[in-house]
Symmetry: C2
Subunit: 459 residues, 2 copies
């Protein structure tokens, strides 16, 4: 077995080596922040960013698949599959996988989103070859055995139950439903008890085969890494698994499209006996590639991005009506969402919503003050630079950029974009986004009469 | 005003400068990991650890006060006070405080525990003087105005309600009560709705005066910092506030004592309509200074510290009975706790508890395998080294060490202690700790009959 597979590997490599292309996408200073990309035969992309001053490295693989790729009956399959990839391969049991990384003090995990799935391990730089070997093995050699599917079903049902027990978490799923309805983007990443109970090992295996082709994957590594060494190790691991045989394959393009989301004035309420009412007031936002996203980032930061933001000041600091209040944006390939979250006692929900709505309306009409814009620009720029020391955050940035934009942006360019945002641009995006009629999602002890009053906030 | 206070500053400084003592506690290599300490007149300690390869710094102040310093009617005062320190000083409004750090992209926060309170800001190294100025001002110049106490009362009641809505969080408060009862260590850090409603601005002000004396504070900074510059800035800030006048004052000693906690077989159940039952099975653990803590760390890691741990493997990986299952230790000055948490569907709670109890009993009797110990040692050592790149984590380590142990330990010494743990030591601490009869706390839809069966787990 060993000799046969290594022969096959040798042949595939020599054919393929000729066509691997390496580019330096961003040239850093003193070796810091240099981003390189190699596209291997088989269509597998490998991007790295070097940070020689650290002793650690984060290695990740991004898959171009998320819950929006699921049909209604497959809802939850992407996330189920993410769990199953930890359950064992032809070479490793579940315990082998977890103990390999645990034994060197690394952290390994994965996350599933609506448009991508990511698996990663953060380790000491000397343990990087181990991390590469384990993560590549998981992605290419998962067995997805019937008994693993059965045992993991229980774990996922527990995860769904745990999320249900955290109303501040599941109100975000409700908001996606309020805004996007029963569509791929509107359905929950975890699936539902019914879809999880109905999923079979066979269907999940087919889903795996279809979506984990090397052309759908981006490998990303950041930290004290050597690009060519990473490429060699990744290539060897994928070739050993027989995964790079279609030497003429090309990577899939980023998702694209532009969708006009028009949801307005919807109200969805889940009556539940919690202490707080958890609400999200929001509207359609911007797609990931929208040029206005830098101005939107400044707007979102000033409105609800920190302790000095308007919503925090008005709702919490001045009136003490909530502990947690913030705004956020979610961007997808073709559309996006903007939302304001607050958790407060049910008796105060109308006051809180009125304050939030008034602020949104006021900013839609008048924009922000120069001082607020200056502060928000400083906040975004400073936190961008502070994030440069975290190899996990860097791996996320370059992996997601490759998968979702198909290009990399240097931190200097990002800082330039943030600094270039003008008050007029902020005013324009505030008018476009905040000027829309909002919708509302709420979870809490909100009986008929109180629930009815919630419509005032979206009138 | 300005000239008067700066004159006073000049005089106090010159008197005092003579007695400031600086020591190098740990000599790092190439400037990395050097820990220095200066005790200023007034009894204020300043510790720093240098990490010249980063561009950031974390600055924190630790106060020797926690919820265990509260009488029953003061329960929640330490945490209430922590909130109030963000509400404004003679020099800054609440908005001034938050916008100063937001504007440079820094993050500022605080946390209150049972034995200490910490305030910190993480910023770019060039913004360190700003962070020092803001945090020192908050600690020395808080006004604690009546209107702030009133507004913040609402925020804290919301925080209590939010915690109540997260059963996986509040089961930890319940476990403290199960093990320690209605004592200072057994009561919740947040206080209760009743105690928060009863606290007056006057009582909180007195609490502030008593517990925020410089002799009760430790200043800690980590990252690209210059020790002498930090000392000068901190000193200037405290002197400007008139806070270092008792030049003969000496720092308070770490908390001490040894308390024999004997709780065994207690069961406390809160019946609540949640999806999951949230349970903690646990027993008395080790005090912070106990020599067996290194062996206990290895034991805890192998038992429930990661994906390859026994409990994760038995409960989740093999049987799919829970999403979240882990063990943990809490150490206080004079006692400690060891606990196993699991969240699972109510119908499975007895199976989960039986598996956990059986594992505890088995390890109490037989210890761990050599392989498990090797892996746990590797996990602790690796994660310790990985933690060296996070200036926030380093600030926490040196600040807490100074406050709670009165001494610093180098990472090399920590690694040596971890590596030196022997199977016999693990066996001994497993027998001592896990061999005790456990107690149990549970939150979930557990009616009389099911609740009664919970006693089996602690029989």
């Amino acid at each position: 077995m060993t000799s046969r597979s290594s022969k096959a590997t040798a042949r595939t490599s020599s054919e393929a080596r000729a066509v691997a292309r390496t580019q330096t996408l961003i040239k850093g200073a003193n070796g810091i922040g240099t981003v390189r990309k190699t596209t291997l035969p088989g269509g597998l992309r490998v991007v790295t960013e070097t940070l020689p001053s650290v002793r650690s490295a984060t290695f990740g693989i991004w898959a171009h698949v998320g819950s929006r790729d699921e049909t209604p009956s497959l809802n939850g399959a992407t996330h189920y599959l993410e769990h199953l990839l930890f359950k064992g391969t032809g070479k490793r049991s579940a315990l082998d996988i977890s103990s390999a990384i645990d034994a060197v003090g690394g952290e390994m995990n994965a996350f599933t989103a609506k448009e991508y799935t990511c698996y990663y391990a953060r380790v000491l730089d000397t343990d990087l070859p181990l991390a590469i070997d384990v993560v590549c093995d998981m992605l290419t050699g998962s067995l997805i055995r019937q008994e693993d599917v059965d045992a993991e079903r229980g774990v996922i049902l527990e995860e769904i139950a745990m999320t249900e027990d955290d109303p501040g978490d599941c109100v975000h799923d409700l908001f996606a439903h309020t805004m996007l309805g029963d569509t791929p983007l509107g359905r929950p990443v975890l699936g539902t008890v019914d879809t999880i109970n109905a999923l079979t090992a066979d269907r999940i295996r087919r889903f795996y085969k279809r979506h984990y082709d090397p052309t759908h994957l981006v490998v990303a590594a950041a930290g004290n890494v050597d690009h060519q060494k990473v490429v060699r190790q990744v290539r060897a691991a994928f070739e050993k698994a027989g995964a790079l045989t279609r030497t003429d394959a090309t990577p899939v393009a980023p998702r694209a499209g532009a969708r006009r989301l028009r949801t307005a004035g919807h109200v969805e309420v889940v009556d539940r006996r919690t202490e707080q009412a958890h609400v999200i007031l929001g509207m359609p936002g911007l797609a990931r590639t929208d040029d206005r996203r830098w101005a939107m980032g400044v707007l979102n930061t000033a409105l609800g991005g920190g302790m000095s933001s308007r919503l925090f000041q008005e709702v919490r600091e001045k009136r003490g009506l909530a502990y947690s209040v913030y705004s956020y944006t979610s961007a997808f390939a073709d559309t996006g969402l903007f939302g304001v979250y607050a958790g407060c006692r049910p008796s105060q929900v109308h006051d809180v919503l009125k304050i939030c709505r008034d602020e949104l309306d006021h900013v839609a009409e008048n924009g922000l003050t120069d001082d607020e814009i200056r502060r928000a620009v400083g906040q975004l720029a400073g936190s961008t630079v502070l994030g440069l020391e975290d190899t996990g955050a860097i791996m996320n940035r370059i992996g997601k950029s490759e998968l979702c934009w198909g290009e990399q942006m240097s931190v200097d360019d990002m800082l330039a974009q943030i600094s270039a945002v003008t008050p007029d641009e902020v005013r324009a995006v505030a008018r476009d986004i905040l000027g829309q009629r909002p919708s509302l999602s709420a979870i809490g002890p909100l009986k008929d009469k109180q629930a009815a009053r919630l419509h005032e906030a979206v009138a």
